[in-house]
């Protein structure tokens, strides 16, 4: 648990400047079809359940995905995200429920009858065909004339910088090139929806970051709806317009990356995305939309925005991002939440520093500070007594 992901850092306010953070961040772009009631979803899962014997892989999932979205299904392995994707591709049949694409029920259709194409985790390239034949395979099945196939293959290859490799076989390519061939093959038929099953899982970290931006570029240029399955939260944050966080076959939260990070609806989501402090406490009273929370151990109560349906005596958790905590030597004046502690650990990363602060009740809190000036009179160090402070709007109270 070291360091918040790079992307989340940039979507949130500057670390250490918690005061300036708005409660709900404005969306990065104006693209938000899920908020527009007149828009019809391109994909709809309706009460979809999938059982394998006694094991329930997907529990009653309902989800709308809109045209041109880059939608991420995020969760640990075994959470049902791949099963959901495979049901959309037609490789698995839902035990109950319906799947609709553009209003048409496709639940009973075979994989080869569906307007979706998939990019596989293992790439699943045809080993006996050249790159060109791989990319043109889907078009050939459609019965497209040869010269048109050549043109479309050419187009897809130039989009993914594969033109030089057209005559090669998959085993003569590097992993990154194979990944691009797999993507080119999935978009060659110009499907309405492209499914990506852990598409970058086999690449090393540096290549993966380049590939993420390439994916986004392709998605934007083709105007296709992309649905990606990943267990990598940074990847989901980077590429997607919305994320569905899954756990044990259920959606825990479906929201934009910004909302997922800044307004998680549960401890699970807060923990899964980025670095977070979870402070347990009991609600003492609720007034004016703020809750006063007692966290025991003789510490001062703290104030936070009360979630809906929050009542007195309820056990709640405050999810507080390390970069939103202000850390200093002096006791802040006029702060609604301030607590004293002792520094037990310092991690200096150059641009930022991490501090682990132990409070009087033994709880440890992580705080983060940008090193904005090169020389500091007296840096915060081990055993220092410090004050932590955060405005009531920066933390999110979750009840589960």
């Amino acid at each position: 648990m070291s360091g918040a992901p790079a992307q989340s850092m940039s979507t949130s306010a500057a670390p250490g400047a918690g005061r300036a953070t708005a409660r709900t961040p404005a969306p990065l772009t104006g693209f938000a079809p899920w908020k527009d009631p007149s828009k019809r979803p391109i994909v709809r899962f309706e009460n979809v359940v999938k059982r394998f014997g006694d094991f329930v892989a997907v529990k009653d999932c309902t989800l709308d995905i809109y045209e041109r979205e880059f939608f991420a299904l995020l969760g640990p392995s075994g959470c049902g995200k791949t099963t959901l994707l495979r049901m959309l591709a037609g490789f698995e049949k839902p035990t109950s429920g319906r799947i609709l694409v553009a209003g048409q029920d496709i639940t009973e259709l075979a994989p080869y009858e569906r307007p979706v194409n998939m990019m596989f985790q293992s790439y699943a390239l045809f080993p006996h065909m050249t790159v060109e034949q791989n990319i043109g395979f889907g078009l050939k099945q459609e019965g497209m004339p040869k010269d048109q196939i050549g043109q479309r293959v050419e187009e897809a290859m130039s989009m993914l910088e594969l033109t030089r490799f057209g005559k090669r076989k998959p085993h003569q390519l590097s992993g990154g090139q194979q990944q691009r061939v797999a993507l080119a093959r999935a978009i060659a038929k110009k499907p309405r929806i492209v499914l990506l099953d852990e598409p970058l899982g086999a690449l090393d970290k540096r290549l993966r970051q380049t590939a993420q931006f390439e994916l986004m570029g392709i998605q934007e240029r083709t105007g296709t709806t992309f649905i990606i399955v990943t267990h990598d939260q940074e990847e989901a944050m980077t590429v997607s317009s919305r994320i569905a966080v899954m756990d044990h076959g259920e959606f825990v939260q479906i929201a934009t990356p910004g909302d997922i990070y800044e307004a998680p609806n549960s401890r699970y989501v807060a923990n899964f995305i980025g670095d977070v402090n979870l402070l347990e406490g009991k609600v003492v009273k609720v007034s004016d939309g703020f809750a006063e929370i007692d966290w025991g151990g003789g510490l001062a109560r703290f104030k936070a925005v009360a979630p809906e349906g929050c009542a007195s005596d309820q056990t709640v958790w405050l999810a507080l991002r390390p970069e939103k905590i202000h850390i200093d030597f002096d006791k802040p004046t006029d702060a609604s939440n301030a607590v004293a502690g002792k520094v037990v650990d310092v991690g200096y990363l150059g641009s930022i520093s991490h501090y682990h602060v132990e409070l009087a009740n033994g709880q440890r809190v992580k705080a983060l500070r940008t090193n904005s000036s090169r020389l500091v009179d007296r840096p915060i160090s081990w055993e220092d007594k410090v004050w932590l402070e955060w405005p009531p709007e920066t933390g999110i109270v979750v009840t589960r």
């Binding site: 075979a110 699943a124 045809f126 080993p127 395979f137 093959r185 090393d204």
Partner: protein, 273 residues
């Protein structure tokens, strides 16, 4: 392991001698000038010439070849289908029984297979001849074909087939355009194996055959009972050559396919890193 000792050398020499001296003798005596099989009369290829005049043996050879081609083709088709069912269908009720039934003929004594075949043909009133031999051979060599193809299917990435279907290929198109080309080397070696098995089978063929469908091994066996002629040596030598060639090509193609696959896998791994 690599140490040379006289004991090792002797045991290897004895072992090979035990296995191959009879065959070597047969091959040498097929080039014997003398009419008497056991008396050496100098080098000659005259018995190969005589062989070309012997209609009985030539007919038998032609029958054998036809039986082998048809039955091995049949065996490979059935064996491939059986292998696909076993590998691809996952668990289904009776799977263990099914695989047991497919592989039982591997260990079944040939006499029993032949006898039961004969009983079946008699019971359903099928006239014994060319086709009954074909059916009998296809039955026993199909399990060998299934084993060979099954091995290849096991290390075959299933998502390659899914990708083909995802791109619009029906199951039949997927099989013809993707699965079959990928498993082709093992299908070819399965065919060669079945071909070789059919070529040299005597026991099952003698049970299943009827008038006008005498195979070469049967012909040789019946002639030997009347006395060995140098012609038999010649035809046997040709058969040994054919069978050896078949086995060599089969094992070579299997080896090359697995080497190529290993190379491809290595390239993929190296690329992924």
């Amino acid at each position: 392991m690599k140490r040379f000792t006289w004991f090792n050398a002797t045991s290897i020499a004895l072992g090979f001698a035990f296995l191959y001296i009879p065959i070597l003798l047969l091959v040498i005596y097929s080039f014997n000038e003398s009419k008497l099989v056991t008396v050496w009369g100098g080098w000659s290829t005259k018995w190969y010439g005589e062989l070309l005049q012997n209609e009985g043996i030539l007919n038998a050879a032609w029958v054998t070849l036809r039986v082998a081609v048809v039955s091995s083709t049949l065996a490979v088709i059935l064996g491939t289908l059986a292998a696909i069912v076993l590998v691809r269908m996952g668990r289904f009720p009776g799977r263990t029984l099914f695989s047991g039934l497919i592989f039982a003929p591997l260990v079944m004594p040939e006499v029993i297979t032949g006898l039961s075949m004969l009983l079946l043909f008699v019971a359903i009133g099928l006239d014994r001849g060319f086709w009954t031999v074909v059916i009998a051979h296809a039955t026993f060599s199909m399990c060998f074909a299934a084993v060979v193809v099954q091995a290849r299917l096991y290390d075959f990435d299933k998502s390659v087939e899914e990708a083909a279907m995802d791109l619009g290929a029906t199951p039949v198109q997927t099989f013809l355009q993707v699965t079959l080309p990928i498993i082709a080397p093992s299908v070819i070696s399965a065919w060669l194996l079945a071909f070789t098995l059919s070529l040299d089978d005597l026991v099952i063929a003698s049970f299943a055959t009827g008038p006008g469908a005498t195979t070469l091994p049967m012909k040789i066996y019946s002639q030997v009972r009347l006395g060995v002629t140098p012609e038999i040596n010649a035809v046997s030598t040709i058969m040994i050559g054919l069978v050896t060639l078949g086995v060599l090509v089969a094992s070579y193609s299997t080896k090359r396919a697995s080497q190529r696959q290993e190379r491809e896998l290595k390239a993929v791994d190296a690329g992924a890193k």
